[in-house]
C-alpha cells in the first residue's frame, strides 16, 4: 500500500501530461500555441494572489512569533490526541473551510519551521489537508447567492462534516504513505 501510494505520486503527473498532449494532438488541437495561450493566464492568477497572501502570511506570522500559536496548540492537544490529529495542524483545519488563503498561510508556517519543513510528517499532512478540501463556506455563499437561495437546508452541515472527514482522511493517507499503517 505504501509503495502504491508513492507510485501514484510518481506516475500520475507524467502520465497526465503525456496523455493531455497526445489527446490534444489526435484531436488536431494546435498543442504548442494552445499551451502558450493558456499558460499566459498563470501570471494574472498568481499576481492576483499577492494581496491575499500578504494579508494572511503576515497575520499567521504575528500569531506564531508572539507565542500565541504555541499556547493554542498546547491547549488543544488533549482533545485532539485521541482523534490522532496533531494539534499543530488544528488551526489550519479550523480555517480551511472559511479561508483558503488563511489555511495556506498556516501550511507555509509549518514549512518554514526548521525542524519540520515540507517533507516532514507534519509538512506532508498540512499539504494534503490544504489540497484535499475546498473553501466550503465561500463556495456555499457564491453558489447559493448567485441564484438567490436563502435557506441552505442541510448543505452547510454536509459541507462542514465532510471537511472534518477530509482532515481524518488526510491523517490516514499520510500515515499510509509513511508506513505507519500496514495492510
Amino acid at each position: 500500500m505504501q509503495t502504491m501510494m508513492s507510485a501514484v505520486s510518481e506516475w500520475l503527473l507524467p502520465l497526465i501530461v503525456g496523455s493531455i498532449l497526445l489527446f490534444g494532438f489526435i484531436k488536431r488541437v494546435p498543442i504548442y500555441n494552445t499551451f502558450v495561450d493558456g499558460a499566459k493566464g498563470g501570471f494574472a492568477t498568481s499576481i492576483k494572489l499577492i494581496p491575499h497572501l500578504i494579508a494572511m502570511v503576515v497575520a499567521v506570522a504575528v500569531f506564531d512569533a508572539s507565542g500565541a500559536m504555541n499556547i493554542l496548540v498546547k491547549w488543544l492537544e488533549p482533545c485532539l490526541t485521541w482523534l490522532h490529529i496533531p494539534p499543530e495542524v488544528a488551526p489550519m483545519a479550523l480555517l480551511r473551510p472559511i479561508s483558503g488563503q488563511g489555511s495556506l498561510a498556516f501550511m507555509i508556517n509549518i514549512f518554514e519551521q526548521p525542524d519540520k519543513g515540507p517533507d516532514s510528517w507534519l509538512g506532508m499532512l498540512a499539504s494534503t489537508m490544504q489540497a484535499s478540501s475546498d473553501t466550503t463556506l465561500y463556495i456555499l455563499t457564491v453558489y447559493f447567492g448567485s441564484v438567490g437561495i436563502r435557506r441552505f437546508r442541510y448543505a452547510m452541515g454536509v459541507g462542514l462534516l465532510s471537511d472534518f472527514v477530509s482532515v481524518l482522511a488526510s491523517v490516514f493517507a499520510v500515515s499510509l504513505l509513511s508506513g505507519m499503517i500496514h495492510f
Binding site: I26, G38, V58, S66, S127, Y154, V158
Partner: protein, 197 residues
Amino acid sequence: MIDFIWLVLFLAGIVTAMFTGNMSKVADAIIHGSERGVTLSIGLISVIALWLGLMNIAEKAGAIAWLSRLLRPIARRLFPSVPIEHPAMGAILANMSANLLGIGNAATPLGLKAMHELQTLNEDKETASDAMCTLLAINTASITLIPTTVIAIRMQYHSHEPTAVVGTTLLASAIGTAFAIVLDRVFRKLSRRRRAA
C-alpha cells in the same frame, strides 16, 4: 467572518507578545511576512502557468465533453430529481468534469450555470432543492487530481519530492467526496422524514 478572523490573529498575537516579551519577533514577523507573501505568489507562476497551459489543451480537445459522457451514469444516480435530457444535467456534468480535471477557473462558471438551471426546476425559489445540496456537497469536497498550488509552494521550500502529495491528496479527497455524497443522502432522508412528520 474573515474580518473577524484576521483581526483575532493579529490581536491575539500582539496581546500575547506583551506578556511573553516577543514583541521584537512580532515586529520582525510583520515585515518579513509581507515580503514572503510577495515572493511566494510570484513563485507560483511556474506551476500554475504550466498547468493552465496543459488544461487549455485538454479543454480545446474536448476533455470536458468526453469526461461528461463517462460520468453520465453516475450523475443520473446522484441527481435522481433532474431529468437526464434537461440542460441542468449537462451543466452538472460539465462542472463535475472540470472539477475532476482540476480546471478550477472553468469549474466555477459551469457550477453557477448548473445552479441557474437547477433553479428553473426548483419549486421554492428561496430554499435549496435536493439536487442543489448534492451539487454543493460534491463541489465543496472536490476530488483533486493534481494539487498545483500546494506543489508550487512545496517547491519553494526546497522539498525533495514536491509531488509526493499527489497520492495522499487523491486518496484523502476521494474519501472526503464519498463521505460528502453519503452524508448528503442521509441528511436528505432525515429532512424528508421531518417534513412528513
